[in-house]
Amino acid sequence: MALIEFNDFSFKYVGSDSLALKKVNLSVEAGEYVVVSGPSGCGKTTLCRAINGLVPQFHRGYIAGNVFVDSKSTRENSVADMAGITGLVFQNPSNQLVTLNVEKEIAFGPENLGVDPAEIRKRVEHLIHLLGLEHLREKHPHEMSGGEQQRVAMAATLALRPKILVADEPTSNLDPQSAEMILELIAEQNREGMTVVLVEHRLDVVAKDASRLILMNEGSVVADGPPEDVLLMDICQDIGIGIPKAVEVFKRLRSKDLHLPEVPMTGEDLVRIFREVVEHDSA
């Protein structure tokens, strides 16, 4: 069984009259880097909640089908049971910081799970170093910038040593520079072997790292595959997904019957591919 398995999973929130997720089928293998995108209200957040059990354990409602994460059904396990498997980073950084300093924040999760204090100390020091939080150690969350808060929130999530890192628009409240830093941290985690599910609008920044792109619309998965395939589909225009400039260029060239050998994700990709083509032709 794959690490994350959605089997015909549907969900409707109490008090809502339409399904937030409609018959979603999805399987994600360990080590994948999945980017999820789609218009507002299409169910991305609900999908994230379903992966760590907040749906249906915290948010109640109508459920059909099943979600298995690490072979555990989210119907039968509490959110706390899933906490060591799926780490969730949310959109609003300040609502994720519940203690008065960085060390306590990072320790909060492992403390809740009853991890040995010496081991918690090790994790805290490691993550403070890894995410460059030394200068924030003694600061009240209120005195940190959004980007700093989000980095702390990320450290607090990683402290649980999850197998899957799920991040729901972690950069949408941040300035571009902090956003890039967070996305780089996530990519780095994936290179180290973490399975990542990232909800993100700015495909121009994340498509190059992702191994898979999922598009959602009105509660359904409408496209699922490698970014270079999905970004060429017409569905992107239909649901208003902004595709990277480099892919745009690729498509324009293609419509003029100029076929590049691969789909570029970034400007650098494009230059590299051009150079290869030119050098190949002149050789």
Binding site: R49, N52, L54, F58, S78, V79, A80, D81, A83, G84, T86, G87, L88, F90, N92, S94, N95, Q96, L97, V98, T99, L100, N101, E103, K104, A107, F108, G109, P110, E111, N112, L113, G114, V115, D116, P117, I120, R121, V124, E138, H140, P141, H142, A153, A156, T157, L160
Partner: protein
């Protein structure tokens, strides 16, 4: 309200800061009770001459002095009104003693609050048997009060921009003007609370019976010594106060 600063934690590296909050609590309560035992100028001055070096040890004399100068208006009031209205024998002397007692009381508690981080306080409560959830709620209040304040200001600005006049009209009108601030504030807060709960839940809040703590407070020899000194001096002073007469120089007062 600047005199309240003396109850606000300040980060310092001092002997007093390093003590266990529990032993400091014992000390603060003992000091406060001692200041309530006496109503004469001399013993209260002696008490202050113990308190000030302690605050000095906590490297907070400056803050203390600032708060006390903020308090001086209030003290002048107390002295004037008491002198004029009181029916005791030497009203001025009495009012001075009363003010000294107020200062001693505040200083005793400030010694605790100046040097105990809210986190230490909640950890102390937990180790004294208070349920984690309860102690944690207290430290979360500390965490989100500034955030809530910021939100309230943002809402006030937004409503002003839409033409709500917050500080106009009579009392009734002003009270009614609060509604467009309070209602959105409550809605925003409930939403925020839900999202905080989601985040805490995802990190296993309340999951495990045997929650561990990164740092446990430890009672050191210094703490035991402090508790011992506090309790012994308290017993001694109670004995002196109730079973021995104060020597005359101690009960000295101003002649008016």
């Amino acid at each position: 309200m600047s005199f309240l600063e003396v109850f606000q934690y300040t980060r310092q590296d001092s002997v007093v800061h390093r003590l266990d909050p529990r032993s400091k609590l014992v000390m603060a309560i003992v000091l406060a009770m001692i200041s309530l035992l006496f109503m004469n100028i001399v013993p209260l001055l002696i008490l202050l001459s113990v308190l000030l070096p302690l605050i000095g040890l906590a490297r907070s004399l400056q803050r203390w002095a600032k708060s006390m100068s903020g308090l001086s208006v209030l003290i002048v009031f107390i002295v004037i009104f008491n002198t004029l209205l009181s029916t005791v024998a030497n009203p001025f002397s009495y009012s001075i003693a009363l003010s000294l007692r107020l200062i001693a009381l505040m200083s005793s508690f400030s010694l605790f609050f100046l040097t105990v981080h809210p986190d230490e306080l909640s950890q102390a409560l937990i180790q004294m048997g208070v349920k984690f959830e309860f102690a944690f709620a207290m430290s979360m209040a500390m965490r989100y009060v500034p955030t809530l304040g910021q939100e309230a200001y943002a809402i006030m600005d937004a409503q002003k921009a839409r033409g709500v006049e917050l500080d106009r009209g009579n009392i009734l009108k002003r009270i009614r003007n609060i509604v467009p601030i309070i209602v959105p504030l409550i809605i925003v807060s409930i939403r925020r609370a839900l999202s905080i709960a989601e985040s805490m839940e995802s990190r296993g809040f309340g999951a495990c019976e045997n929650r561990t703590y990164l740092e446990q407070l430890k009672f050191t020899r210094h703490d035991w010594a402090l508790v011992l000194v506090s309790v012994v001096s308290f017993c001694f002073l109670v004995y002196v106060r109730f079973y021995l007469a104060l020597p005359p120089w101690m009960s000295w007062g101003l002649p008016f």
